[in-house]
């Protein structure tokens, strides 16, 4: 096992898949000469050339639209949208086209498309540059939505996404690129649509993903010092949502907290909590608690921004409230 950063793990996945399959290519704003806004594709342009690492104009709708076209005829594009905030100008292509074409054509064509993008706040980039609208995209049947929280999962899930015949929205977190973790050697994939227990515990189940996994694990460490053992389940994929490990855990701990970075209203926590109520109500000893972002457009000022985002102490407090 090597210890890699999230950035290195994602970059390796792309590199290896491009080496493995000539049908895989990358396109997006700044991905080529500059190597990507978050430096994930640095070195790719020189190695794979401008045909397979294509710098595009600032045209998010055209980036996704053209990637859909290329995928429909058999290529495996990895389209990069610089930040998920800019995906809104490509919304029609993502939710009306990519998510529906396979179904609407009666399965005649597949859409092996990956849209890589970056979400999340915490870098003082203001309200239209820092959102976590993952739940919005996870709402649409036909679109797989993946959001890894560890380097090993990021690498394995991205490789799985590139090999997948369905459109996958792959959401990286803006503040996780430097996060280090053990990554298996050699070629491996992590299946899309499988949640995973990232820490075992008997007292309370935390359900989370992406950046909030890191926050939740830190909270779990803190709680362990007070002899509260938290089990942390990482969703990893928001659609299709794998509730099995969540339900198994809740049946063991009888208490659950859902931690997400996005807003609480109509969010991931709402969905997960509803499913727990539907499928494990009788096992619960307390109402499910949700931790989420304060419901404001995210402010630029660092103090205000951090106040609006969920912190370790918020998770610790929520866990204590369900005990």
């Amino acid at each position: 096992m090597a210890r890699l950063t999230m950035r290195e793990a994602i970059s390796q996945a792309l590199w290896e898949e491009m080496e493995r399959d000539p049908k895989v290519f990358i396109m997006g704003e700044e991905v080529g000469v500059w190597g990507g806004t978050y430096a994930v594709t640095r070195g790719f342009y020189d190695h794979f050339g401008p045909e397979r690492v294509r710098d595009t104009p600032i045209s998010e709708a055209a980036i996704v639209g053209a990637a859909i076209g290329a995928a429909l005829v058999g290529l495996r594009p990895v389209a990069e949208i610089m930040t998920i905030n800019f995906a809104f100008v490509a919304m029609d292509h993502i939710v009306n086209q990519a998510a529906k074409l396979h179904y609407m054509f009666g399965g005649q064509m597949v859409l092996p498309l990956v849209i890589r993008t970056v979400g999340g706040g915490g870098r003082q980039l203001g309200a239209t540059h820092s959102q976590t609208p993952d739940a919005v995209f996870a709402h649409f049947p036909g679109l797989k939505v993946v959001a890894p929280g560890t380097p090993a999962d990021a690498k394995g899930l991205l490789k799985a996404a590139i090999r997948c015949d369905d459109p996958v929205l792959f959401i990286e977190h803006a503040t996780l690129y430097q996060l280090r973790g053990e990554v298996p050697e050699g070629d491996y994939t992590v299946p899309i649509g499988r949640s995973k227990v990232q820490r075992e515990g008997r007292d309370v189940t935390i359900v989370t993903y992406s950046k909030m996994l890191d926050i939740s694990l830190k909270a779990a460490e803190e709680l362990a010092r007070e002899d509260i053992e938290v089990e942390v389940v990482d969703l990893r994929t928001l659609r299709p949502l794998d509730m099995e490990p969540v339900l198994e855990s809740v049946k063991k701990t009888n208490r659950a907290v859902v931690v997400e970075e996005g807003w609480k209203s109509y969010g991931v926590g709402a969905e997960v909590a509803a499913r727990i109520y539907e499928e494990a109500f009788d096992y619960l000893d307390a109402p499910v608690k949700r931790v989420a972002q304060v419901e404001v457009p995210l402010p630029y000022n660092r103090t205000l921004e951090q106040l609006a985002l969920p912190q370790v102490k918020d998770v610790v407090q929520a866990v204590k409230e369900v005990l």
Partner: protein, 327 residues
């Protein structure tokens, strides 16, 4: 459309002040005192030229994030700029809520914009539509980088304005780069002005390092807009002398030789030489201006540094209109 000597000297002063403020912003960022800066260095001439062609404070302006010089011409102050960079409560654009250089200044009819580029263009067209519906004697100036003219929204908005003959002037500040991507990776035509031909409005390319040339082009377009003859697309060509923002290193995508060559066409230098040749700017006069700019920059930095941050509870409002500022 002749501009008097004092007007031309004032133009130079605005360019100089914008430059010195902008340079200080870079220093503050390198010192770790601000989180982000996006620069307008190299674009001051076009911005000042355009501003002087407006009825400032009456006409509407829907700018983009490089328009510091334009904003100063409209009455934005050095202190306000520094407050915005530092995310302070008094920042008039947003009270520390919006990124710096995403201007908003109601008192002089400046509308804020969003980080996804070209989203401001349809807004500007909407403002122009309102002006026309209300039969007001006003125009809208909206600016944008050339890279953003690849966005579908930009075409939709410009097309609208042309169809409805709206009183709006679209100024593209073509600084040669969209972050790292040069113009030829963004468009197959020579420049953004050529994009007008398929949309049914006049497209004019002008040297964006020449404040007077830009003034003349914008003044003519403003007059046209005011008299009901519809929109114009102006492309001001210049060079972005700095990296895209404080988050990138331009050495990875362009040569130093290219940047050095562009510095010889620095718009500030050009305006200065023009004024000197006219005998309107003496070495002493320039020294006075530099001293005044330095004093204003120092004052702004001091003021903003001492100014309070927003209170924690200010993060929570105003999300809806009933929640007017409580502080």
């Amino acid at each position: 459309m002749h501009l008097s000597e004092p007007k031309q000297v004032e133009m130079f002063w605005m360019m100089l002040l914008a430059r010195r403020l902008d340079e200080r912003a870079w220093v503050l960022h390198r010192q770790g005192k601000i989180a982000f800066h996006i620069s307008g260095i190299g674009q001051e001439a076009a911005q000042v030229g355009a501003a002087f062609a407006l009825r400032r404070g009456e006409d509407w302006v829907v700018p983009y994030y490089r328009d510091l010089a334009l904003m100063l011409c409209l009455g934005y102050t050095p202190r306000e700029f520094m407050l915005s960079l530092m995310g302070k409560r008094e920042d008039p654009s947003s009270g520390g809520r919006q990124m710096p250089s995403h201007w908003s200044l109601r008192r002089v009819n400046v509308v804020s914009h969003s980080a996804p580029v070209a989203t401001q263009t349809p807004h500007a067209v909407g403002v122009a539509l309102a002006i026309k519906l209300r039969r007001e004697d006003k125009v809208v100036l909206t600016t944008i980088g050339e890279g953003a003219t690849s966005q579908g929204e930009w075409y939709e908005a410009v097309n609208w304005a042309a169809v409805h003959r709206l009183p709006v002037v679209f100024m593209v500040e073509n600084n040669g780069y969209a972050i790292s991507e040069p113009v030829e990776k963004q468009m197959a035509v020579e420049g953004a002005a050529a994009r007008a031909c398929g949309l049914g409005l006049e497209g004019v390319a002008v040297d964006g390092t020449d404040a007077l040339a830009v003034y003349a082009a914008v003044a003519r377009s403003v007059e046209k807009a005011r008299s009901g003859e519809g929109p114009t697309l102006i492309e001001a060509r210049m060079y972005r002398l700095t990296p895209h923002s404080s988050d990138d290193d331009d050495r990875t995508y362009r040569t130093r030789e290219e940047v050095e060559a562009a510095k010889r066409r620095d718009p500030l230098l050009r305006m200065r030489q023009h004024l000197e040749a006219q005998g309107w700017l003496t070495p002493e006069g320039l020294e006075r201006m530099e001293a005044e700019a330095k004093a204003l920059v120092e004052d702004a930095v001091d003021y903003a540094t001492r100014a309070p941050y927003p209170a924690p509870e200010e993060a929570a409002y105003p999300v809806f209109s009933a929640e007017v500022r409580r502080g």
